[in-house]
Amino acid sequence: MPKVKVSQQGKALRIGIDLGTSRSAIAASNGKRRWVRSLVGWPKDFVARKMLGDRVLFGDEVNEHRLSLDVVRPLAHGVIKSGTEKDEESVAELIGHLVGLVEPRPRQKIYAAVGVPAEALKVNKQAIRQAIADYAEKLIVVSEPFAVAYGMGALDNAMIIDIGAGTVDFCIMHGTMPSVDDQRSLTTAGDHIDEQLLGLLTERYPDADFNMNIIRAFKEEHGFVGDSLTQVEVEARVEGKPVVLDITNEIRRACESILPAIAETAMDMIARFDPEYQDQVRNNIILAGGGSQIVGIDTYLADALSEMGPCNVSVVDDPLYAGARGGLALAKDMPYEYWMDM
């Protein structure tokens, strides 16, 4: 019997990508996984090119050099803005960068499953497909909460609430592909918290210097809702001098600002669900996305929803990679003949 040699090069690399408004992550079947802030920067002018070289910058590097760069945050507000080429280009660049980070073999084929904010999938699926097409031999695009649900195996009677920067996406899973009625989005999400926090802090400390990066760092480090055990104190600059400011109340108020709408939407969606399974869904609420990292958010929501009956709200284990992992699981599970058709 002749020996059949399988060339490694012939075996496609399966990847899952979570294309987020704030962060994007990738997980690949070769075991590698990476994440990067969703920021793309092009050198502004000749001087900047001289300094940085003629290349596109990504993630934290963009923040470092942001004064010399034209910075694009792809998928701001959860969608590619139509008609602006830079936006589509930045998505393509970002995907290319992410794929490079997991180091495929030269000329290795790539089969990708990409999770995007639900709103983007609705509004500009085609633009997203085109942006990604250059980097993947075969491609599927799904909504972010769906990817998370798939990755966790939460396929039946579960609700995923993906709290991102641009949107909060809801998705009820009931054993089939979620339909329109099973999905909803809110536009008051992580970025909204930042704006609120900036407003509140500027009001309380009019002389202090804040910018969005500083504010976001405060939120990511100290964000909480409900009762706090300790005071939140941060260092900021007032007229150039470092001072310690108490921001406990402001950070709580900012973080809580998005919750009533989330609780209400969740209740409404559950109430519309088949009454027979409402209990199960209520006990299977999973929070994902950067927003799920706000301390106390699960308890707060469980509390808010408790008027419908007992419920269980949990936070996904690994929020940074939950979406990418789900995408990878989809890419791996998708039968070969399905891939061939795409």
Partner: protein
């Protein structure tokens, strides 16, 4: 919590994977898939003797390419008997498929698919048998159309010689429907009317344009009535003015929607409801939706929306640096499938923002918005005219050759 080895889980997973697969198929493959499924269905229906054939003595479709020109290429279908979804034999070479449809209780109309991948549907372009003999003169046939279509670089906008003459300005809401209400009580219906009037005054002065308002007072108008109004007046372009509202949020955004079916499931859902009593199967409708993505109306509405969005946002941002550009979007206003003209819905700003509400109360600010809308429309028109000039030149070459 989740038992992965569970057999049911595996079945669910397989169903979901198939769903993802279908969802991600290229449109032409998805159409093929749907068509196969449907044709099997009709085969069964035929055996059961349930196929009800709608006898239409003759159907006559005019697709007028040249407005006011002597040449009027048209496609003729005679002795057509259609069942919904049935493919009709003996069609002109241009059309691969034609079906009778009846959308939302309106007059019967025909939907056809050209080989080139375009779709056309006609409301009110069908004439009864007695009109079919209107004859007289040469009517260039389908070949001419094919000839035109096969020209490299030809887009549908060029083909249809779309020249804007009549613009309908629709002031959102009105009468019993106040629309959004600002924190201090300003009503959307009043502001949209005022902006609409200002825009009317501005556009009225433009040469060659006829401008019409859907309402010039505080009156209640249903969406359906507005659509009828657009059709009755042979409008070429529709702009509907609205104000956004974002509850519990001080954010102010500008966004422009263009009507028409995006290929998402939501529009399908709405379509399902709207067309419940029509002879359309839902599958038919989704197919139509998938194809309409390439139509003239969609192309032109998108362009118009982007011109308007750019101008309104650009204008209002001066003086309000925190204004957010939400871009152009599609929304499934399926009832407006009926208006086969470029149509957009401009959400010019947010009345829910207290500062913005105060600005909107000032005539000067409203006029700035009207001016921005005017610039958007005019820049779209001038682009369209440039395009048409090029198209007219190409067209004359084609006719000379044929």
């Amino acid at each position: 919590m989740f038992n992965r080895s569970d057999k049911r889980h595996e079945m669910v997973k397989a169903a979901i994977l198939q769903g993802v697969y279908r969802d991600n198929l290229p449109p032409e493959k998805r159409r093929m898939l749907e068509r196969n499924v449907r044709s099997r269905g009709w085969w069964r229906a035929g055996i059961g003797g349930l196929l009800v054939v709608l006898p239409l003595a003759a159907l006559f479709i005019h697709l007028v390419f040249l407005q006011g020109g002597e040449l009027s290429p048209s496609i003729e279908i005679r002795e057509a008997r259609y069942a919904p979804g049935e493919r009709q034999g003996g069609l002109p070479p241009l059309i691969t498929e034609a079906r009778a449809g009846n959308s939302g209780g309106k007059e019967p109309h025909l939907v056809g698919y050209s080989r080139e991948g375009g779709v056309f549907s006609g409301y009110g372009v069908l004439a009864a048998a007695d009109n079919a003999a209107d004859g007289g003169g040469h009517l260039p046939g389908a070949e001419d159309y094919g000839l035109l279509l096969n020209q490299p670089g030809m887009v549908m906008a060029d083909l249809f010689g779309l020249e804007v003459h009549t613009i309908v300005i629709d002031a959102g809401h009105g009468g019993e429907d106040p629309g959004a209400i600002g924190p201090n009580g300003l009503m959307e219906k009043d502001i949209t009317l005022k902006i609409a009037r200002l825009l009317y005054n501005r556009l009225e002065d433009e040469e060659g344009l006829r401008v019409i308002l859907t309402r010039d007072s505080d009156e209640t108008l249903s969406l359906k009535r507005r659509v009828e109004f657009v059709r009755e007046n042979d409008a070429d372009l529709l702009i509907s003015i609205h104000l956004n509202t974002i509850p519990n949020d001080p954010m102010t955004i500008v966004e422009t929607y263009y009507f028409g079916p995006p290929t998402d499931a939501q529009s399908l859902e709405v379509a399902r409801k709207e067309n419940r009593h029509s002879q359309y199967a839902v599958g038919d409708f989704s197919e139509l939706i998938a194809q309409i993505g390439d139509t003239l109306k969609q192309q032109e509405s998108r362009k118009l929306a982007s011109h308007i969005q750019r101008n309104v946002y650009g204008t209002l941002r001066r003086g309000n640096p925190r204004l957010v550009d939400a871009g152009i979007k599609t929304a499934p206003f399926v009832v407006l499938l009926g208006t086969e003209i470029p149509s957009v819905l401009a959400e010019v700003t947010c009345i829910s923002n207290t500062d913005e509400e105060a600005r909107l109360a000032k005539p000067a600010y409203r006029d700035r918005i009207a001016a921005a809308l005017e610039r958007g429309i005019l820049s779209y028109l001038s682009q369209l005219r440039r395009q048409q000039k090029g198209a007219a030149e190409r067209r004359s070459i084609i006719y000379a050759e044929s």
